[in-house]
């Protein structure tokens, strides 16, 4: 989407771009073009929603985790995801949109979240694959976003990156342990990689040429690296990790290019990508329905807490 920058004051716009070019962060009360604000509203809220919706595929396994150790780890990870969502909602709120409004846009289907969470998690190995691959892909993206030009978003990313590396390592540990197990366990791990490999690569979004927001986002340094560059970083890190523990990448055409120093892979099934984004993935409806239900069922808690808050305030005033 191109924003109509001709509406903006050209002097202010030039000063703004000069700040960005000089790597000076933009803070909430600074002047910013409306297009920059809108772009951030979309990206940060989508990021926040992804963290929160991302709790669902893992929540599916809390009650069936195979040991107390793995249950504690899983709960800690899910708690982190909730926390990351909250950091990001707070960053998004500095743009002048309320938390209520962000949730409303999510529930109305006007705001998106990472499509990868629309895939089901039917086996325990999926807890490994999600941590290793989905969090791994998110980390590549988030490390890059630590340098984003908007101060509150950048600070949230720094905090999230510090916490996130445990997520990826615990996932890889699950996969490693399963690959050291019996035939059925190894099969389960491989099956999980087969199902999550492509959705993980899709997490980086469309090719650079097809990405609606990329060029303006890069000029404003909201995004610091392109979708394809980030995807390649992830592929180059992940393939050797898979090979090390005996997993096979589900792509007959992948190979290492000695000259470029990068892995080459088949192209993504873009029809599937767009289909899931449009809402037709295996779990889109389930994920959103669950979020709406949890939010609606929890309304009385917020109402009670708000009433208590008012009561406390009145007490202070009359004391």
């Amino acid at each position: 989407m191109a924003y109509d920058l001709s509406q903006e004051d050209p002097t202010k716009l030039a000063e703004f771009q000069a700040k960005i070019d000089a790597e000076i962060k933009i803070e909430p009360k600074d002047w910013m073009p409306e297009g920059y604000r809108q772009n951030l509203i979309r990206q940060i809220s989508q990021h926040a929603h992804s963290e929160v919706i991302g709790m669902q595929p893992e929540g599916n396994w809390v009650s069936r985790a195979p040991s107390l150790r793995s249950k504690k780890i899983l709960m800690a990870k899910i708690q982190d995801e909730g926390g990351h969502g909250l950091y990001l909602y707070c960053a998004a709120e500095t743009l002048g949109v309320t938390r209520e409004q962000y949730l409303k846009w999510l529930h109305e289907g006007k705001a998106k979240y990472a499509s990868v969470f629309n895939y089901p998690s039917p086996t325990w190995a999926d807890m490994g694959a999600i941590g290793w691959l989905v969090d791994g892909a998110a980390i590549v993206n988030q490390v890059s976003l630590q340098r984003t030009s908007y101060g509150p978003y950048s600070r949230a990313m720094v905090r999230i990156c510090m916490e996130e590396s445990f997520h990826q390592r615990q996932g890889y540990e699950i996969m490693h342990r399963m690959m050291q197990g019996n035939e059925a366990q190894r099969k389960m791990a491989q099956d999980s990689l087969d199902r999550w490999w492509w959705p993980s690569l899709m997490m980086f979004g469309p090719h650079d040429g097809e990405s609606a927001h990329t060029s303006q986002s890069m000029q404003w340094k909201i995004k610091r690296e392109s979708n394809d560059d980030l995807r390649q970083q992830f592929i180059d890190k992940t393939i050797p990790q898979a090979e090390l523990i005996g997993l096979k990448i589900p792509d007959p055409n992948y190979k290492f290019n000695d000259i470029t120093g990068h892995y080459e892979t088949s192209d993504i099934d873009w029809d599937e990508f767009w289909n899931v984004i449009k809402g037709n993935g295996p779990c889109n409806k389930k994920r959103l329905d669950h979020h709406i239900k949890a939010h609606t069922d929890g309304a009385w808690v917020r109402e009670a807490a708000a009433a208590y808050g008012v009561k406390q305030k009145n007490k202070l005033q009359t004391a």
């Binding site: 803070e27 009360k29 600074d30 002047w31 800690a76 708690q79 982190d80 926390g83 909250l86 950091y87 707070c90 709120e93 309320t98 938390r99 209520e100 949730l103 600070r155 949230a156 905090r159 916490e163 309304a299 917020r302 109402e303 807490a305 708000a306 208590y308 808050g309 406390q312």
Partner: protein, 94 residues
């Protein structure tokens, strides 16, 4: 209207003797809820030994658009910096 509570800013002291540093914000309906939420949200990995919570609406902040004129009284007072002063050759520990 769905009420999500007041906005609070969270400051963490990483260890005794260190200054409190802004960590982020959160929503809460009263002081004790804000304190518990701040602990659970911002100090899950030993990030600090102290927390300050301030309601965002109570913060008085300078205006970015006034920053230049507001802070420029400091610009022409180089004698406030130790490097302004010339020390004699050979002077030590000063």
């Amino acid at each position: 209207m769905d009420n999500q509570g007041d906005l609070w800013e969270v400051f963490i002291q990483p260890k005794p003797g260190r200054p409190f540093k802004h960590a982020g914000s959160l929503h809460a309906y009263d002081k004790s809820m804000a304190m518990e939420a701040a602990r659970d949200l911002y100090t899950r990995r030993g990030e600090g030994t102290g927390l300050w919570l301030v309601k965002a609406e109570d913060i008085v902040a300078s205006q970015p658009e006034d920053a230049e004129s507001f802070f420029d009284p400091a610009d022409d007072k180089v004698y406030r910096h130790p490097t302004f002063y010339k020390m004699p050759e050979g002077a030590k520990h000063i």
